[in-house]
Symmetry: C2
Subunit: 560 residues, 2 copies
Amino acid sequence: MTIRRDTLRWNGWGRLGESIGLGRAREEAILDELGRRLGRKLLRGAEPCALADVRLPPPKLEAALLERLRAACGDDGVGTSRFERARFALGKSLPDLLRLRRGEIDAAPDVVVHPADEGAVAAVLRIAGEGRLAVVPCGGGTSVVGGVEARPGPGHAGVIVLDTTRLDRLLAVDAIAGTATFQAGIDGPALEAALARHGRTLGHYPQSFEHSTLGGWIATRSSGQQSNGYGAIEDMVVAVRLVTPEGVVRTLPVPRSAAGPDLRQLALGSEGALGVIVEATLRTARLPASRIERGMLFRSFADGVAAVRELVQAGLPVSLVRLSDESETELFELLRRKPGSRTGRTLDPGAVVLGAAARLGYAPGRRTTLLYGVEAASAREASFAAWRVRRVLRRHGGLPLGRAPGRSWRRDRFRTPYLRDWLLDHGVAVDTLETALPWSLLEGGRDAILLALRRALASHAGGGLAMAHLSHSYPDGASLYFTLLYPLDETDAVAQWRAIKRAASDAVVAAGGTISHHHGVGVDHAPWLEGEKGRLGLAALRAVKRVLDPAGLMNPGKLL
Amino acid sequence: MTIRRDTLRWNGWGRLGESIGLGRAREEAILDELGRRLGRKLLRGAEPCALADVRLPPPKLEAALLERLRAACGDDGVGTSRFERARFALGKSLPDLLRLRRGEIDAAPDVVVHPADEGAVAAVLRIAGEGRLAVVPCGGGTSVVGGVEARPGPGHAGVIVLDTTRLDRLLAVDAIAGTATFQAGIDGPALEAALARHGRTLGHYPQSFEHSTLGGWIATRSSGQQSNGYGAIEDMVVAVRLVTPEGVVRTLPVPRSAAGPDLRQLALGSEGALGVIVEATLRTARLPASRIERGMLFRSFADGVAAVRELVQAGLPVSLVRLSDESETELFELLRRKPGSRTGRTLDPGAVVLGAAARLGYAPGRRTTLLYGVEAASAREASFAAWRVRRVLRRHGGLPLGRAPGRSWRRDRFRTPYLRDWLLDHGVAVDTLETALPWSLLEGGRDAILLALRRALASHAGGGLAMAHLSHSYPDGASLYFTLLYPLDETDAVAQWRAIKRAASDAVVAAGGTISHHHGVGVDHAPWLEGEKGRLGLAALRAVKRVLDPAGLMNPGKLL
């Protein structure tokens, strides 16, 4: 098992013993400033519920079924412990964490299985069919949309969570075609390490990278931080292998085919509702010899958007583009500020730079920050690419911020989720949502969604902060990623979240955006899916499910 | 109607009055040389059957249904003439032409309708459902795999061909997102002309470009000659609108979505079997200000393949790459040779160059020809790109052939199909087939497929020529396009073709290739589809069809 579950938090993000780690002085300064903005003093709340005290529904699996699962997966491949059941009950969405921290888990797997090969996966599905058990496939379990919630559907006698992370082998490398075939339960770091031994990279770095799996990326149509350079997961999958209750769906590993609709696209975004992704052949790239990551300041969000749009429409070789809007820029400046500098007691070089920028018209509260990166096979090529990128950015008023923003991005790029746990400890909820829009609707869409979010926060949390950044840009549009911070309503935090989520999703749809650019549907976005796919489109997908999973075992309530 | 059917051949390629047009002397030289290779004297055969003499099944549509179709499509939108019925009976595959030229059409539409808006399309499908009539959607009708054959399925009372070419409007241009929304019946030249007025291009140039439509490109997962630069049709479609017997399937025009499987991919490759594609929003590009198209000679196919692979794997900005193998290179040299030059009576500059090349080790019969192109926003950028490309090609032994190959490619790029009619006039069949393979299987695959083709030609035609070129290259592989020339068996040319086609398709599958990289499935490839998609994959697609077309009206016998 590449993912060592016992080293990970069952009720929070990431590894035990790791945290956002800002240092006590900075933490205090941030809590101080955030509290001022949220209108309350932020204090450390009660400790989250301990595992021993969690209320779990009693397991209800017959011993004979467990025996058969053990025969398929091995004795160490079947878990029914409190830790396993709690760990695999939910994912990592805000409402998931809220429930885990309160120890109120109303649905949990009756058993967690860890099959080590495709045969064992097929056997588990067979046993599930015979026992009318729901099967929830789970890779890293980092879904933030309720995609791995272990809740039975109507008519199910119980729930099996099928942990894929023992399927973690590199099966083949085709050095000539530049492809590699992996079992789908391999996690990000293991996959990149295996490819690095061949001088190659997939270049897929979602924020969950350290804890998520290839199969999860495919099942959720994941997109990584360097999607500008490497594409999203659907651009990387050459062929895929899906074990369904009715047998195996596999696609031919060819670079392209016109032989009817593309079946890879059924696995991509299937969210475990059609079967278990067990294998994929991936396009890989040569490991870049050189990379440059830099920051720039723009006078406004509009200037930054125009700059990014020109970059991608001109096809410039940028691997990473992320534009924080005014509010996110301001919050990041706050997070990075040296404690004490606001009062002038400490010298903060960052603050000095920003002060100078303000005098050049990059006003606090209006300025926005762009992070961009280029990668190339040589330092010379990277420099040339960066020069071309910079030339466009400067034309839109970009003010170089040097190397510091790139360095801190690379250091922290998988760490931000730890911030959420720390803020939850202090009674502050952090939620995120994202969409994608054509360029022509992007700025208006951002404004409308932010307005709706701020209204919802005012109504349901007595205020809060809402901000956005642009990332994952394409010639015809880009994704917008929103972050919300608001004081938790301790009486019913899940209901509070639900009200805000509903307003947010309605606003996304009204703006013309997709309900998800890269998080997927799960249970949280399911109510908005028919609006996006249409009645008939959704009926077509459900018809596919009826063929591959006629008994409706697979991940009930998610997606379809 | 952008496509004026009355200006087009009903039983051959392209426009009336146009032909391959090589000039009498060159034509004679070619027939002479080809005849020598095929072991017989090539003489002009009997004229193809005249339209008036064609045997067509009698139309069997009730007057009341015709009346209703006229109410939906207008009096001039419903055709039952001999010309319309013969013109829309078949596509442009070799067996289609063989049957048309003999005047033996055993299945033809009872009526051809030309709806002018989406409402009329929906009305036609409704009327078809009530009358149990098959509906064959037809754009340009240039399918070479039997995709538009107007044959009823079991239980159908007749066949309607639904001509989409009155749906030919540009509906919207989004200058900021760089997208354009068209009705799907617009043909290539009209689409490019409409975009050129906005300074933009789609860059999609299949060989059928002059006579095929956007909807046809989408329905067949088409790929154009400049796919290296612009991508294939699936890379261009942002959103699509499909009218099915059960209603409309439409997708959201956003740059990307992770909200479940991608429904665009159901329309892409749907071949009229799920519904009628009526509209699409497309990514477009700025019209290039500058382009460079050049030829190069390589000492072998292997050298050329290695060069192309390095180009695409290094991500060099090449818009067009086509590598003719030894046999195709030799035939093209023959076609381009000045008449009389073989006997030394005329000076042929091309022959002089090739003679010099031979002395440098580029031996006739072993050498291969690469055509490549770059496009850019300025002449300076194009030169720089071409320099980078050339540097790689030279490293693999590429010998520049100057501008002539690029010029003649651009002049003739949509004309090659006319060669087929001219050769058919002289008793020689020309057929093509194509596949895609990973780089690691490409050369072995080509050898195996050519061997199988030559064996089949020996068995079924007493000999013939088989050759290949590589085009549409990707980081992980490329497509191979095969051309066959063989003497027609006048007693049963369709059976002869079928035997050769079967051997060819079996060889493609045995080599690990897809049954089609860009021609689609139609009726000709349908027997090989389950092998490629798998039993369960095909069952999933058929389930989608049952939802969108429960009565099985749409294009029976094709794809699914």
